[in-house]
Amino acid sequence: MNRKNSNKSRNPNKPTLAFYFLRALACINKKTSMASYNQRSGTIKRAAYASMALAAGPKRAWSRAVLCRVLWWGSSRLHGFPTRRRPRAFFHRRVRVADPKLREPSKADVLRRLVPGAKAMDLSRLLEETAHYIQYLRAQVLLMQNVVGSVSD
């Protein structure tokens, strides 16, 4: 049994999260002030996920997957890679976990699609990653709400 990481999902480090996100915001403001609204919102969204993954650390599968995805975004933008390219293929294991004992296979599959980097994972690992992901998502949403609230005032 995983003693240390099953019973206590690590609480997200709020200052670190804020740090990365605000830094990203600053850079976005600096760099893309002339960009369109949609582009900027997409960039901000990606920055939010990137800062979330950065704050989470490399130990979680979802944070690694998110960072790889962000890398792909960055590289495709910078170097003009074709957008069809999926770097996930490097990391996406083709092993399909056959779990006939699942309550309903579709639910776990939906969850696998939602949580990044959880495609080839057994159920217990998937649940653990989901718990961690939810924690960080919630912290990120709170942070963004605070930022929006304070900025728009």
Binding site: A26, I28, N29, K30, G57
Partner: protein
Amino acid sequence: MEPTRSSDAGSGNSGTYTPEIAESIRFEEEIQSLMRENTMHPGLEPPPVGGGGSSFTALLGLPANQAVELLHEPESEESPAVAIASASGGEMWRFRLRDPKALTLPSGCSPTFPSNAALVERAARLSVFATEDSPEAASVPSHSGDRSTKPKAEPADSDSQPICPIPGERPQRPAKRKEADKGNKVKGPAKKTKSAEEGSAKGAEENTSGSGEKLPYVHVRARRGQATDSHSLAERARREKINARMKLLQELVPGCSKISGTALVLDEIINHVQSLQRQVEVLSMRLAAVNPRIDFSGLDSFLSAECGRVTVGDGRCGGGMEQSAWMEATAVNEGRRQQQQIWHVDSVHPHPTPSVWERVDSPHLFINPGTSLFGYDPSNSGKRRRRRR
């Protein structure tokens, strides 16, 4: 006790004589003499004497139930050693025990053992038999030869005892019971520390727990009436893991603790994750709309000139007000009031992961001599523009 017992068995098997083994040999001789007295009992033969090697098996040739009780546990413990030492003897005693005629012996032979109590006491004194110790030894003389009370004494023993750490001992008790008392239902003394939700007593499990007798290294304990084979154990462990994680998730997701049933809980979790992701998107759109108003000006030239570590308020020229404005704007930073941050360009276009992770531990101080730095001192309302470029 157990290591001494096993060591005794080992030493006994190897032929070296220790005081305990000498006493057990005397015990054996007494038993053999007793058995020669009872030659009228069918199916009983003097057990094979293999010196110190098969002392336990010789003892187990005793037809009395007390001896069976006394000797079964240590024998079963030493089953690997004994099996190695004398397999044939072991089988013989097992066969003898399964002999229904042997079961009727206790009632018949208890009066024929005048020194039964003495034997029992000697057995109890022997360190090798001191497993279930006093409760057993106490119960044995009390119901000497009484077959009906034996199964009752057994549950009493098992209840009174603390959880025995002897590996492989538990699964063998039902085997003994099965052999000794076919009529009764097996009470299922196999208790596993991994408590699973399924507690249904199945009759098939008795056989599997009986087959566990042969395995000397069954270290897990099953709930009563549960299978002990490795597959079901692994399955149970896996299920417990999954259920533990589901409980964690239920606590995380609001409103999930009331729901029972994994499918509904999973539905709730999926909805929650989707809603959170949607919220992130909405907020990012709002931020994008709000952002042009915020002006994050940079101090990068100043910092690159400084080209080193920037500590609390050092590298900022009159940036105190901006910092406080920034702090108000964010309203989230608790621990970064006094910090100057050096921003790297790769927040939006990240560098390869290793270099990024280095900064995770120390977000406060950055040492970036060669790279282009810009710190930013954002002003909330855009009134202050410090363009140091």
